[in-house]
Symmetry: C2
Subunit: 316 residues, 2 copies
């Protein structure tokens, strides 16, 4: 049973095969958000605060925190900025953190101040990254996202990406890091660029789960890049990835279409006991009083009856 | 390569592992539709006509036609009514037909008049059904839906349902009917009644495909029976079933949420070449001029660039 434990001071999230899908909120990230980057450089964290609250309310299980404002020397400027942002977010919400940086010194600075057991984003199969990040992962006893590319870049061959993931897991084991603390990102290509991108991911996720016994994640919205009605594509991709065994995604928890798809997928994977979260959310969305157990029981009763009748009719 | 060929006089549909998902329109069925039943008994086929047109326009690949108006003696009344309904539908639309009846004489009457190669709905693992329906399937050289229950009813144990399906395929082989002409319905239980219903179906579909090499179908909306926001549950269930290998479903093609989910799942399974159908449908829905290849190419270009940049950023 693979269980990746991520926690804040007061809240624990388990990423696992039999757990509800783990939504990692992607919003606190200045990459591609010039306004947010400028604010953070100027010491204005109002958008960060809003994003922390909105994503938690939207249903994020974990909040990714990135402070990569592309300064001239990120090795100097990013560590204090990331540490400050992590502290700020932890002062506002109980949601556990995913510390996201390509600067090792920034990861360590944030690890020093972060309460609980944050997830680290990320290590890759590149030798230099492995040798820098894995000792941090071991020292702080935290789980890490492992992205399946290496010095040669991102292979279009899913077998190569699987091999990279396997190598990271093996190297982590050399440091005494267990597979349950590695969350593999098999890398999602845009389906508009590569028609096999979906099938690749679904198969990779299944192999990662069955052969390496690891949890998985991905940047979910990348699948729909360049297509019209991206939310429609994302809202089908997430349930398909979940049915294939994916256990988390870095995504926008403030998008109702994608979040409804995740909630429904939890129902269908049997990780939403008695459909209680689904019923609660639906009734909440409709402005109705929650009825909880009663509704679940009712559904169970009706379901039995209908199952029998429909089947008899069709079977003749 | 399993390919189930279904056709009308002028149109052929292939149900298959590498084909777009086959939507079998469920609407022309008086079961549970008292008004429609009364109309059909009275010789008024206006609703049937409307349903044939609407479902074809909605995107149905095949139209299920059922005339089970629950007369006192269906053996007498249903054969001519079903034959008449099939002829009527075939005079209106080119969409191939799925002849649906629990009355063998009605199936044969409809088979006599139906042009092309209709799908038959259904046989079960019940001995009497096997001995009655399989000779018809062989005589008319048509494919058949095989529902995985038998004399003992519907087992809650998916392994038993798989065994029933295997037995039907084996019995069909005794009649010289190939596995590619058997479309197995593994039976979908309401998830509100049985929390494992989703996982059961996903696993069964995978086994049916890998071990028996057959196409699969189901009454998709049964999964959400008794729950609030059924369309939300259905719209996640369909992509999950498709990712697991399901190749068709009996469903309502006039529901945009479910149909968008199917269209997106086709994109993600790589059966919508260059995302052309997705782009066409989205632009059509938005009232825009179709741009076809240009848009697909654009998406491909953008996708490549973004994939590279995003990956570099994340890999650091």
């Amino acid at each position: 049973m693979t269980r990746t434990i991520v926690s804040s001071a007061t809240k624990t999230v388990v990423i696992g095969f039999d757990e509800p899908f783990c939504v990692i909120g992607e919003r606190i990230n200045p990459t591609g958000r010039k306004k947010l980057a400028a604010e953070m450089v100027a010491g204005d964290f109002s958008t960060v605060e809003q994003d922390a609250r909105d994503q938690t309310e939207g249903g994020a299980s974990i909040l990714d925190v990135n402070a990569g404002v592309t300064a001239v020397d990120p090795n100097t400027s990013e560590p204090p900025l990331l540490a400050k942002t992590v502290e700020l977010v932890q002062s506002l919400v109980a949601t556990p953190i995913c510390i996201d940086s390509s600067v090792p010194a920034a990861l360590e600075a944030a690890l020093e101040v972060c309460r609980g057991r944050p997830l680290i984003n990320s290590v890759t199969g590149e030798e230099e990254r492995l040798e820098t990040i894995l000792p941090l992962v071991k020292k702080y006893d935290v789980p890490v996202v492992a992205i399946s590319n290496d010095e040669t870049g991102i292979s279009e061959d899913p077998d190569v990406r699987f091999a990279v993931a396997r190598r990271i897991v093996e190297r982590a084991a050399d440091y005494g890091i267990k597979p349950e603390d590695i969350v593999v990102d098999p890398l999602v290509m845009p389906i508009g660029a590569m028609g096999s991108a979906g099938q690749q991911v679904f198969r990779l996720v299944r192999r990662l789960r069955e052969e390496l016994k690891v949890n998985t994640t991905c940047g979910a919205s990348n699948i729909s890049f360049g297509l019209p009605n991206r939310h429609g594509v994302n809202a089908a991709f997430l349930p398909m990835a979940i049915a294939s065994g994916m256990t988390s995604a870095i995504m926008n928890p403030c998008r109702p279409q994608e979040m409804d798809a995740v909630r429904a997928a939890n129902v269908l994977m049997g990780t939403d006991a008695n459909c209680a979260a689904w019923i609660r959310h639906t009734r909440g969305a409709a402005g109705l009083v929650e009825v909880g157990e009663t509704a679940a029981n009712q559904s169970r009763e009706n379901g039995r009856r209908r199952g029998g009748r429909e089947a008899r009719r069709r079977a003749g």
